[in-house]
């Protein structure tokens, strides 16, 4: 950066370095949320451009990467908002009344069909899961298998902690539809995790 003596700016590295040091990370952040390589790349580009415009306001209170990720999240929210206007969730009305996909687990009386239809024992201490590399791989694998729109909604709400009112506005859905969509996403994620996790450690499955 030529002729640059300002303190606030000197804390930031040069935009070239942003690409080298944070580009892949920002790209993975975007991929987890939008799923599409081209869109994710656009998100990174928009983020770096916005960062360049806003670099005077970088106060140095957070790490450079945290600052960039913050900008990226806003860009992703904007993208999801646009996408939801162009292509609203389909069949939502029917979905709220229709039987859920997990209906096969339940009998006519609404109770679990039998012991095997319900959740299995994961046979592990949840507090130790985070130390396990395989755990993160399984979790990522299952997140990647959520349907695209469902993944957008789920990651905004559950990973980024965007509050429900905001998520409803961004996705252009009613709160009751949001609860249904979240229930579905959680239910799928839970089931996928269980299958993959227990499948990957057959010897440790509890009887």
């Amino acid at each position: 950066m030529p002729n640059n003596t300002s303190n606030t700016i000197s804390i930031l590295s040069s935009p070239d370095t942003w690409v080298d040091q944070h580009g892949d990370y920002l790209y993975r952040c975007a991929m987890l949320r939008v799923r599409d390589a081209e869109v994710a790349q656009d998100m990174v580009q928009e983020t770096l451009l916005a960062a360049l415009q806003a670099r005077h306001s970088f106060a140095g209170q957070s790490a450079e990467r945290t600052w960039l990720v913050g900008i990226l999240k806003h860009k992703i929210i904007d993208y999801v908002r646009r996408a939801s206007r162009e292509k609203p969730f389909e069949n939502l009305e029917r979905m709220t009344t229709a039987d859920d996909e997990d209906a096969s687990c339940f009998g006519d009386d609404g109770h679990w069909l039998n012991e095997n239809a319900g959740p299995a024992d994961w046979a592990c201490d949840p507090r130790k899961l985070t130390e396990n590399t395989q755990f993160w791989e399984v979790l990522r694998y299952c997140l990647e298998r959520l349907p695209e729109r469902s993944a957008q909604l789920f990651s905004l709400k559950e990973i980024d902690g965007v509050d429900s009112d905001e998520v409803c506005k961004v996705l252009n859905v009613t709160p009751s539809n949001l609860w249904v969509l979240l229930h579905r996403a959680r239910s799928r994620l839970r089931e996928c995790f269980e299958t993959q996790w227990l499948g990957s450690r057959p010897g440790e499955r509890s009887a």
Binding site: M1, P2, N3, N4, S6, I9, P15, D16, V19, D20, G23, D24, Y27, R28, C29, M31, L32, A37, Q41, V44, Q45, L48, L49, L52, D100, D102, A103, F106, D109, G110, H111, W112, E115, G118, P119, D121, W122, P126, L129, T130, F135, W136, E137, L139, R140, K157, E158, I159, G161, S164, P175, W179, L182, H183, R186, S187, L189, R190, F193, E194
Partner: protein, 100 residues
């Protein structure tokens, strides 16, 4: 502790079916259950280990998803291509004013 059979029946009658309880378990994470729904859900857990386990697993997944963003992304996964990086750098140079 084994509960008397009649108490099981009363609780089953007072609480919603499992299909409903799993929905409530999800909604509880979003803080939208009423207090009486929550009480009925808790009563249901007394007689239904499967629903209780379901609810605990949802809570574990939620906590873990937020616990470590860096590890959630992994480090060996997708990368920008060298061409994409070059393109980004050139674009940033073009946009950067020569004098700040």
């Amino acid at each position: 502790m084994k509960m008397p059979r009649w108490l099981d029946d009363v609780l089953a009658w007072l609480t919603p079916p499992c299909r409903e309880v799993v929905r409530w378990a999800s909604q509880d994470l979003d803080g939208v259950l009423t207090w009486h729904q929550r009480v009925r859900m808790r009563m249901h857990f007394v007689i239904c280990d499967l629903c209780k386990r379901y609810q605990q697993q949802l809570a574990v997944l939620r906590a873990l998803l937020r616990s470590d963003p860096e590890r959630l992304l992994g480090d060996d996964a997708q990368k920008l291509s060298p061409e994409a990086k070059q393109h980004l750098k050139e674009m940033l140079r073009e946009q950067q004013p020569p004098h700040d």
